[in-house]
């Protein structure tokens, strides 16, 4: 079968596709992937049957709301697969502060290849194509989270960064602050980019401020935050965070880009320079009425986020994360990218905080907190 998603991923500028073309491709790719999961994932098929939903019911983009999402907790402690187990090459996990069982996502080679391609699109679109990357995380050998492994995969296999041009600032649960600062100030490959959870950025900012260091990154460096704002939220506002990070590294605020890590569908969405999070055509985001999952809330209104991916082959990446957020289908951004815009508004209460950074926080808490 010819997969529309693979055609879509070959597009030179998927974020700027004409709307009609993007919508047609999106519909076709989502119809195909839904049919694939329906036919090949018995649990998902049974679940759809409860709602009398069949692949042929998806005729237009408006019908995507009929596709039943799986709550992310259902991935906890159990692999849900749309391919035979022997095709699985990696199991990515997220964790919870309220449950000992992590969410597990089974990934096959097809999904990983497409992940890499989508990652390349994201970072090329943002301007991260070469240079040196300081990952404010453990290495993939020490962490099986999507935040670490997914990004490493994209950098190495997608953007062809050599291992000399990637450094991991966390080793054996400790932030190697001085070593990381030396690396970013002496790297030959420029520009230098940084990627990691906000609280580790703040750790570096505090270190720089305390020691009065003068560190200048490049005019085309990108400082990408991802993994949740929970730890820094009680201490600094996002505005103050941006100001302090910009000052510490001598960068403009438009060089700071927050990434929305969608670990449940093994991808992320990056902010544009105007701080809008643009959804590419291989992802569909829907904000549902929390009291009625079959109804979407209005444009820009807060609802329960449902995430759908048309590139994940190995499991039904059609997930209700328990997170709240807003979606705009028609909003125009000054950057002129097309498609949906999404804003994350926090986690549903009592559902337990999830996401990779929470787990990073747990083992790094002692060393980063005074």
């Amino acid at each position: 079968m010819e997969w529309e998603i693979d055609k879509l991923l070959q597009h030179p500028a998927p974020f700027r596709m004409p709307e009609k073309e993007a919508e047609e491709s999106k519909l076709k790719s989502f119809r195909q992937i839904f049919e694939h999961h329906y036919k090949n994932c018995p649990e998902y098929r049974k679940y759809c049957e409860l709602y009398s939903l069949k692949p042929e019911d998806i005729k237009t983009l408006d019908d995507l709301v009929k596709i039943q999402p799986i709550p992310s907790d259902a991935f906890r402690g159990k692999l849900i697969m749309s391919v035979p187990q022997d095709k699985i090459v990696l199991v990515a996990t997220t964790s919870s502060t309220t449950s000992k069982k992590p969410c597990q996502y089974a990934l096959d080679a097809i999904t990983l290849k497409r992940t890499s391609e989508t990652g390349v699109h994201f970072f090329k679109d943002a301007g991260l194509t070469h240079g040196f990357v300081c990952m404010l995380t453990p290495s993939p050998e020490e962490s099986d989270t999507g935040l670490v492994r997914g990004m490493t995969h994209v950098l190495r296999d997608g953007l062809k960064f050599s291992s000399d041009n990637i450094i991991y600032a966390v080793k054996s649960g400790k932030v190697e602050t001085e070593k990381a600062i030396k690396a970013i100030t002496t790297a030959h490959s420029r520009p230098v980019h940084m990627y990691g959870p906000p609280f580790v950025f703040m750790h570096f900012v505090e270190y720089i401020e305390r020691h009065g260091l003068d560190i200048k990154l490049d005019k085309d460096s990108l400082l990408i935050t991802t993994g949740g704002w929970k730890t820094v939220a009680g201490e600094v506002t996002k505005k103050e965070f941006n100001e302090r990070v910009s000052k510490a590294f001598h960068v403009r605020e438009d060089q700071l880009r927050d990434g929305l890590g969608l670990t449940d569908i093994y991808t992320m969405i990056l902010e544009c320079q105007y701080h809008n999070k643009h959804v590419p055509p291989w992802i569909h985001v829907s904000a549902r009425d929390p009291a009625d999952m079959n109804t979407e809330v209005g444009e820009g209104e807060e609802g329960l986020l449902v995430l759908m991916s048309s590139f994940v082959n190995s499991y039904p990446a059609i997930v209700a994360t328990g997170d709240m957020g807003a979606v705009w289908n028609k909003k125009k951004c000054e950057c002129r990218r097309t498609g949906q815009i999404v804003e994350h508004r926090g986690r549903g209460s009592k559902l337990g905080a999830r996401g990779c950074a929470i787990r990073l926080e747990q083992f790094m808490e002692i060393i980063t907190r005074k």
Binding site: P69, A74, S99, D292
Partner: protein, 450 residues
């Protein structure tokens, strides 16, 4: 903007130091609260413990029964305001708040107050006199100043805590919860309307500060002699950590209730499910006694179908009020999870009530509360004992005749109360609470050898 007063040793103060918002986006209620100053704290630290001690227990009971009559009177000007504001702040429906008011008025009757003192202390005279017990003369002295940290989920529970403090002649300092900033404030305002010069009026304080303001907490905890804390795990842990040694700490932490339905209940199934629905509906399942699970001997589907009908009826009688969209999301999430795992889900059109029938306990979602019950079939009710521990406060059994056989095993596992379906939210007069008689811990038992 509604200015809700704090009361500092009988004096009301209003202000706009803190503004808290409640309710749906399109109809927000803004509550303005005054600042707590060092002079307020100093005044509370000097609270009139002696004047409280000089009151007789009958005078205290008389005072509170007058408050009860005032609150029960439809002509009391503050009553309507209280009900409307409580609905706006707590999100409970008017019907639910009125039910709470009825419970409070019942607690404020002379009969209830007398029986509480009598059962908790064994003899109400101990509060006023020295009573001979074996070789000693025994007397109950108040602890002094008592801090009540309230949870705000059930209006009557806040009043119960305050009453206990007064019935033991302690000076009450009441920290309201932002879940209910109305009931305690209005309750204490009524003291002034009864008698502005009464020692209870002049010694009682009611206020609120956010839990993050450790500074105020530390100042107040430094001069209190006892603490009664209600709430979730974090509140209990934090209070435990911050309470100095020697200060008596009474904890009322998070727990749950469970329903046991025996096969005999199917003879009068509708009666059983009407009662079960009431337990589940009461204060939207936010109480420590609210049932979260039902073990059923017999046809579990038949039980669930009958319970569904009863919940629909009970919802019409005691409708759900406003809840933050995140709470609806929790319920929706639990329903989706259960359906995906193959459990049978019975539910209202929106998120009014939910019944999740699972064949085993192995794969249940996180409990979302909000009138949700997990129903599990068992061959024999004794099987359910495996799932009972100290986290269970109360077990309601239908038919109640089965309770006698089960009560020893249940209470050995940590259950504090065994009752009937439909009675979970109604404490029998004279009963202990959380495995103790609270009044007995709010006094110092002193003696003189005869």
């Amino acid at each position: 903007m509604e200015k809700v007063p704090f009361v500092i040793c009988g004096e009301q103060k209003t202000g706009e130091h803190q503004v808290l918002e409640f309710g749906p986006k399109e109809k927000r209620t803004k509550i303005c609260l005054p600042e707590i100053t060092d002079s307020d704290i100093q005044k509370m630290s000097k609270g009139e413990t002696e004047a409280m001690h000089e009151l007789s227990i009958d005078e205290i009971i008389n005072f509170y029964s007058k408050v009860g009559k005032l609150w029960g009177s439809i002509t009391y000007e503050k009553r309507e305001e209280l009900v409307d504001l409580t609905c706006a702040v707590t999100g409970y429906s008017k019907e639910m708040v009125e039910l709470g008011m009825k419970q409070i008025c019942w607690m404020l009757t002379k009969e209830y107050l007398e029986a509480t003192v009598q059962s908790d202390l064994g003899d109400k005279r101990l509060l006023d006199e020295w009573i001979t017990r074996a070789e000693s003369s025994v007397h109950c002295q108040p602890r002094g100043k008592m801090l009540h940290i309230l949870a705000g989920n059930v209006p009557s529970v806040a009043i119960m805590s305050i009453l206990r403090g007064s019935l033991t002649k302690n000076v009450n300092i009441i920290k309201m919860s932002n879940r209910d900033l109305i009931t305690p404030s209005y309750f204490v305002q009524a003291f002034y309307d009864i008698d502005p010069e009464h020692p209870i009026t002049k010694s009682t304080s009611v206020l609120y500060w956010p839990h993050t303001n450790q500074e105020i907490f530390n100042k107040i905890i430094s001069f209190v002699n006892a603490v009664s804390v209600w709430g979730g795990h974090d509140t209990i842990q934090e209070t435990r950590r911050s309470t100095p040694q020697g200060v008596e700490l009474l904890e009322f932490g998070p727990r749950r209730g469970i329903h046991f339905v025996g096969k005999e209940a199917f003879h009068e199934l509708e009666k059983a499910t009407i009662n079960a629905a009431h337990d589940l509906t009461l204060f939207d399942q936010e109480c420590c006694f609210s049932p979260q699970m039902t073990f059923v001997e017999g046809d579990v589907e038949k039980y669930a179908e009958s319970l569904a009908r009863s919940l629909e009826e009970e919802n019409a009688r005691l409708p759900k009020g406003y809840a933050d969209p995140k709470f609806h999301a929790n319920i929706t999430n639990a329903r989706m999870y259960s359906r995906f795992r193959g459990h049978k889900v019975h539910s209202s059109a929106k998120t009014e009530w939910t019944i999740i029938v699972a064949q085993t306990m192995d794969d249940l979602p996180t409990h979302p509360l909000g009138r949700t019950i997990f129903v599990i079939p068992v061959k024999d009710l004794t099987e359910s004992l495996n799932y009972i521990g100290p986290e269970t406060q109360v077990v309601a059994i239908e038919p109640y005749s089965r309770a006698v056989d089960l009560r020893e095993a249940l209470t050995l596992r940590g259950v504090d109360r065994v009752t009937q379906l439909g009675k979970m939210g109604y404490f029998a007069v004279g009963s202990p609470h959380e495995g103790m008689y609270p009044l007995s811990r709010m006094v110092r038992w002193v003696k003189m050898r005869q």
